[in-house]
């Protein structure tokens, strides 16, 4: 693989001249429709009016809010060079077989129209946001940014809306079951560049789809900022699997805001794999709005160095006979910090709810820190709810067993940590996806070993 940093030098130099994002979006989206830009202007005002979070906000308790300094970040300005483009395209393949692929670098599409013909013929839409805004205005508008950001990042959701210009729009019509996963890549390129990746997935009744998104830095040594929103709208009886893998540079700041709405008899499975970033916050809201709805919320994080992962979740049961299950596992090495703040909320009248929430922290060093705030708010009865949080370390006996068989300490630790995290990955039924996620985790271990 060639050295990507040299290719990006040019972009970085050009970008350094542009103003920071705190100066506003300016004429960034001059090519987009007026209604969209009007919303963006309103969002910018909202962003400016909302206060920055402080540690006193419950939603930011334990968070390193000092990491939220946005002043250094600016918009990417130049188009990537052909060489850079080729290089990133080459690096943008994780799954061997997909039904389609979209690749973005610094909020620009590198490759599009990658959807297989048969699905296009069936009415599936899988295209960059800026095209969907124009070509499918009604459909897009109906769902775009309609979910509230209630888990602390309302300000950043507003920032996202003020700046967003690209991302993925995926629409699956009624009854269509897409067998192979769709895949996207978002690359963060130049130094201190800010990107605003957006994903809007609308699965109509009885449809089925799997979307795998990869968020990465082109250069592991560059700082950057990603402020993303991904909204999933799961129609009655539909089945959506959404996987997000995040492997930013260790100097990146990222905030990812998810909202998933699950209608009657539908099911959604969210899996978030967090490997990179300096400070990475993930907010995930699952709203179960129809009877028989089910949501599985899964996450794995592997923290090293001074990395901080911050996850806030809400399992919102707004209808009776709904089911949700959350399982988050975090392995923490060096000075890594993890904060989990989760809430199960069972609304009045949402009787016969089953809701579960489990967070497990594995502390691998004396300076690692795990904060857990598993919460319950139950306003209905006839519910089955439980939550659990544990923090512990590797089992000495297991370690001894492996060492006694001649396995090196490093490998033994990797095996044990891998085993610990595997419980989450094995909730996926597709073995190809499990293998891919294991490979990404192994990649992080390998980087450490070097």
């Amino acid at each position: 693989m060639s050295n990507p940093s040299a290719l990006l030098e040019e972009t970085a130099a050009a970008a350094a001249e542009s103003a920071g994002i705190l100066g506003g979006a300016g004429e960034r989206n001059a090519d987009l429709p007026a209604w969209f830009r009007e919303q963006q202007r309103a969002a910018w005002i909202e962003f400016q009016n909302l206060p920055l979070p402080t540690i006193k906000d419950q939603a930011w308790r334990f968070s390193n809010v000092k990491a939220l300094d946005l002043a250094p970040f600016h918009l990417p300005n130049e188009k990537p060079t052909d060489a850079k483009r080729r290089e990133l395209l080459e690096r943008s393949a994780e799954l061997e077989e997909t039904s389609g692929r979209l690749i973005f670098a610094d909020d620009r599409v590198l490759e599009r129209d990658a959807l297989a013909d048969n699905w296009r013929a069936a009415g599936v839409i899988f295209q960059p946001l800026e095209r969907a805004i124009i070509e499918h205005e009604d459909l897009f508008r109906r769902h775009f940014m309609t979910q509230p950001a209630t888990l602390g990042s309302a300000k950043f959701a507003a920032l996202h809306q003020a700046f967003v210009r690209s991302g993925t729009f995926l629409y699956v019509p009624r009854g269509i079951e897409i067998d192979l996963p769709l895949e996207t890549f978002h690359w963060l390129g130049g130094e201190n560049v800010a990107i605003f990746p957006h994903t809007l997935l609308v699965a109509e009744e009885f449809s089925k789809v799997t979307l795998v998104e990869h968020f990465r830095s082109a250069d592991r040594n560059r700082a950057g900022f990603s402020c993303g929103v991904n909204d999933l709208v799961v129609g009655a009886g539909a089945k959506v699997t959404y996987i997000c893998t995040q492997d930013w540079s260790d100097r990146a700041l990222s905030i990812q805001i998810n909202a998933t709405t699950v209608a009657r008899d539908a099911s959604a499975l969210n899996l978030h794999l967090a490997l990179g970033g300096n400070y990475s916050r993930m907010e995930s809201l699952s709203r179960l709005i129809g009877e028989g709805a089910r949501s599985d919320m899964l996450a794995v994080s592997v923290g090293e160095g001074a990395q901080e992962f911050d996850a806030r979740t809400l399992q919102d049961h707004a209808s009776p006979h709904t089911y949700s299950d959350l399982l988050f596992k975090n392995a923490l090495n060096d000075r890594a910090r993890n904060t989990f703040g989760g809430l199960i909320r069972v609304e009045p009248h949402a009787h016969f709810t089953d809701a579960y929430q489990k967070v497990r922290n594995l502390l691998l060093s004396d300076d690692a820190e795990a904060n857990s705030m598993p919460g319950l708010e139950i306003l209905a009865d006839n519910v089955k709810c439980s939550h659990g949080a544990t923090s512990g370390q590797l089992d000495d006996d297991e370690m001894f067993y492996l060492l006694a068989r001649g396995i090196s300490k490093t490998v033994a630790r990797q095996l044990l940590v891998g085993g610990f995290l595997n419980e989450v990955l094995s909730r996926l039924t597709n073995p190809v996806l499990v293998a891919k996620l294991e490979e990404l985790i192994a990649g992080k271990f390998a980087r450490r070993a070097r």
């Binding site: 006193k56 906000d57 419950q58 308790r61 334990f62 009045p348 009248h349 009787h351 922290n361 502390l363 691998l364 060093s365 004396d366 300076d367 690692a368 820190e369 795990a370 904060n371 857990s372 705030m373 598993p374 919460g375 319950l376 708010e377 139950i378 306003l379 209905a380 009865d381 006839n382 519910v383 089955k384 709810c385 439980s386 939550h387 659990g388 949080a389 544990t390 923090s391 512990g392 370390q393 590797l394």
Partner: protein
């Protein structure tokens, strides 16, 4: 459905009375520096106490209400409408015969004397803000145990009192600990000398008897090396029309190898704001155990804590909360591990009935470079009615390897099968529910001294009767 009240040997309105107010010292309503000076003058506070109070008043005024995380109901407290000091003008009495008759009647209706006196080593009963009755059995006094009102403690035992007063819970800990520090009166001071194991529990009863009157008692208990003490505190209050405020501060110090067990049964009337700060400091090998039962009040916010400061210190909180119609029991525990090999245990069970809301709020903190610390937390909630509510908000911080922390919580309702089974055998639905709920908390209730556990079971039965049928 016919209520089975008659089957129980207890009167539902037993706490529902009030006597004419005859207070000789009354600080009036509202809280200013004048109020503080008035209290200090009447109580003949030493100078350092007056300064302490004035400083606390500034801290209190500077702190916002904690409504960013706590119930908005706190906003219903109008500090300007509260009387911060009342006293019957009587000195604490040691002789039962000297206690005024109407006060005696109050206690008799509560069932304190006679049958319970023999169980108790001493009674420190608090009527409004001053202790009016104080009696320690001769045997306890001879062992060198000091059991007096806090005013008496700070005047006559300053060498012990001052050393620990405000050290476990600093004035600025929270808005209400600051309020208490400014206007405190009443409460107990106990010192148990090294090696003394107090056999019988010491006990104090608290009552509020003046409308709109906040009670701000301050308790400080120091148990010296290797000594042991059980302290019980229970309260009922007559019912009033306007809200009253109760904001106590309780500090416990368990020196090396000491054991303290602090038992509370809280049954304020349903218009009382009960905002209490309780914390224990456990030195090496010491043990602090809070057994806390909350049945009454409009809003209770109370999170008994233990700071485990010495190696192998232990902390425990056993919590039972019963939230009936219109009540919010916001209870929990704080466990701060500050030394190696410290262990803590939190067991919380709550029951929400009608529109009641029970909240568990917990904090477990294990800082870095500690070894072999353990915490176990279990929270179980039982929901009785369709509009009941329960919440759980734990916050757990663990740094480093070598510690084990686990938290589990569950929410459930009374099993329909159990109820059906019992009704098949001729029990009414109310009886069946009451049995089932008592079964839910039984393993915790058993940890209370006998007379308390009997009282608790009866209170649960009473609550259940009103909620079913």
């Amino acid at each position: 459905m016919v209520k089975e009240t008659t089957a129980l040997d207890i009167e539902r309105n037993i706490g529902n009375f009030a006597y004419p107010e005859t207070h000789t010292h009354d600080a009036g309503v509202g809280l200013t520096e004048k109020t503080i000076h008035y209290i200090s003058d009447v109580k003949q506070d030493p100078d350092w106490v007056r300064k302490f109070r004035l400083n606390a008043l500034r801290v209190f005024q500077g702190k916002p209400m904690p409504t960013h995380w706590a119930s908005k109901d706190l906003e219903a407290i109008v500090f300007d409408n509260i009387r911060y000091y009342l006293s019957g003008g009587v000195q604490p009495k040691r002789n039962w015969e000297d206690v005024p008759d109407d006060v005696k009647r109050t206690f008799e209706r509560l069932g304190i004397p006679e049958q319970e006196r023999k169980f108790l080593a001493g009674v420190e009963a608090q009527f409004d803000s001053e202790a009016v009755y104080s009696n320690i059995k001769k045997a306890v006094g001879e062992q060198g145990v000091i059991f007096v009102g806090s005013a008496d403690g700070l005047k006559n035992h300053p060498e012990i009192f001052r050393k620990w007063f405000g050290k476990v819970i600093p004035t600025g800990d929270n808005k209400f600990s600051a309020l208490n520090s400014a206007v405190f009166s009443g409460g107990s001071f106990i010192y148990v000398p090294p090696g003394v194991k107090v056999k019988h529990p010491l006990q104090a009863y608290f009552r509020i008897n003046a409308e709109n009157f906040g009670q701000f008692e301050r308790t400080l208990i120091i148990v010296d090396e290797g000594a042991e003490l059980t302290y019980m505190e229970g309260c009922t209050a007559p019912k009033f029309n306007t809200a009253t405020l109760h904001s106590a501060v309780v500090e416990l110090v368990a020196l090396k190898g000491a054991k303290i067990q602090y038992i509370t049964v809280q049954n304020w009337s349903n218009n009382v704001f009960n905002l209490v700060t309780k914390r224990g400091l456990a030195h090496e090998n010491a043990e602090v155990k809070w057994i806390d039962c909350n049945i009454g009040s409009r809003l209770t916010m109370k999170y008994p804590g233990v700071v485990m400061k010495g190696r192998k210190a232990r902390g425990e909180v056993i919590s039972i909360a019963l939230a009936g119609d219109g009540q919010h029991q916001d209870t929990g525990a704080k466990m701060v591990h500050a030394a190696d090999e410290t262990t803590s245990n939190i067991i919380s069970k709550s029951i929400s009935i009608g529109t009641g809301r029970a909240t568990y709020r917990g904090l477990v903190h294990v800082p870095k470079h500690l070894k072999n610390c353990k915490n176990n937390t279990e929270c179980d909630a039982l929901l009785i009615s369709t509009n009941s509510r329960t919440d759980t908000y734990p916050a757990i911080t663990v740094r480093g390897t070598g510690n084990a922390v686990q938290h589990e919580a569950s929410v459930s309702q009374v099993s329909a099968e159990q109820i059906f089974y019992m009704q098949q055998r001729g029990l009414t639905k109310a009886q069946a529910m009451s049995l089932s709920v008592n079964g839910f908390v039984n393993d915790l209730v058993r940890q209370f001294p006998m007379e308390y556990s009997v009282e608790l079971k009866r209170l649960i039965e009473l609550e259940m009767e009103g909620s079913v049928g």
